[in-house]
Assembly symmetry: C2
Homo-oligomer: 144 residues x 2
DNA sequence: TATTGTTATACTCTATAACTATA
DNA sequence: TATAGTTATAGAGTATAACAATA
C-alpha cells in the first residue's frame, strides 16, 4: 500500500514543518515580549472587532481563558474592551495603536525569517506549496 | 515586485497551516491527557535516549523547564530517569511501556485526522507538498 | 431558559537566578 | 573553571465549575 505510506510521509512532513514554523513564531513573539497566543490574537484584531466568545472560538480556547488573556493584555495597553452596542451581555475587543505597531513589526520579522525557509525552493515550487497549503487550510477550516 | 508578493502569500499559508496542524496535535494530545509538549517529548523518546540537556535543546526549552516536565511525567509513570553511565553529572531519559502505547495510539489519531487534511489534494500534489516541506524542515534545521 | 462574560481555583508550562555535584 | 541538573520563585496560559447579568 504505497498510497498509505505516502500519506504517512506527508503527515510527518506537515508535523515537522509546523514545529519549525511555530518555533520561529514563538521566537518573534518573545522578541516583542508577548506570547504566541497573544501575538496571534492581536493579528486577528488587525481586521476584526470580535466579541470575547468569537475570539475564544477562533483560537480554540475557553471563554474563561480569554478573560484572563484579555485582562493581562488590557493592563499592558495592548487591547481595550468595549460594550457591544447591540447586545448588552457582550464585550467587543479592539486593538490599540501600540499593539498595531507591535504586530506590524512582528509581521516584518516573520516574513524575513520564514522567508529564509523558502530559499531552497524554486519559484514554481513555492507557488505549488502555497496552493496546497491554502487548500489544506480551507479543508481544515471546513471540518470545524 | 511579484516575487515578494508570492513570498508573502507563501509565508501566510505556512503560518495558517501550522496553526491548523497545531490545533489537531493539541486536540489529540488532550484526548490522551497530556500536553502537546509532553506528547512531542515522548515522540522523541521513541528512538532516542537523550540527556536532559539534549531534550531541552531539541525542544527549545530551558534545562529547568525540562526538570519540571520530566518530574511530572515521571510521577505519572510516563518516563524514567537513568544515570548516564559515562558522565556522572548527566541523566538520561527513557520512556515506559505506558508511554509507548500512548504515543502509538496518538500517532494513529494524528494520521487519521491530518490525513483528512489531504483529501482535496491529488497524489502528485501530496508528493510535491511532502518534498517541499521536507526541504523547508532541513533548511530550518540547518539554520539552527 | 439559554447565552455572555467573569471569578475562583488549580495545574501545567515557562523562564531567571542561585545552588550542588561532577568533569 | 565549566557543565549537568535541580530547586525556588514568579508569572503566563489553560481548563472546570459556579456565578451574575442580559436575552
Amino acid at each position: 500500500m504505497p498510497q498509505r505510506v505516502d500519506e504517512e510521509r506527508a503527515v510527518d512532513a506537515l508535523v515537522q514543518a509546523s514545529f519549525a514554523v511555530t518555533r520561529v513564531l514563538s521566537e518573534v513573539a518573545s522578541e516583542h515580549d508577548v506570547s504566541l497566543t497573544l501575538l496571534r490574537l492581536m493579528g486577528i484584531l488587525l481586521d476584526h472587532e470580535p466579541r470575547m466568545a468569537e475570539l475564544a472560538e477562533h483560537l480554540g480556547l475557553e471563554r474563561s481563558t480569554m478573560s484572563g488573556l484579555i485582562d493581562r493584555a488590557e493592563r499592558r495597553g495592548l487591547v481595550e474592551r468595549r460594550p457591544d452596542p447591540v447586545d448588552a451581555r457582550a464585550t467587543v475587543v479592539v486593538m490599540t495603536e501600540d499593539s498595531r505597531e507591535l504586530v506590524e513589526s512582528a509581521r516584518e520579522r516573520i516574513l524575513e525569517t520564514l522567508g529564509e525557509f523558502l530559499l531552497d525552493l524554486h519559484p514554481a515550487q513555492i507557488a505549488h506549496l502555497t496552493d496546497s497549503l491554502e487548500t489544506i487550510v480551507s479543508t481544515a477550516g471546513g471540518t470545524r
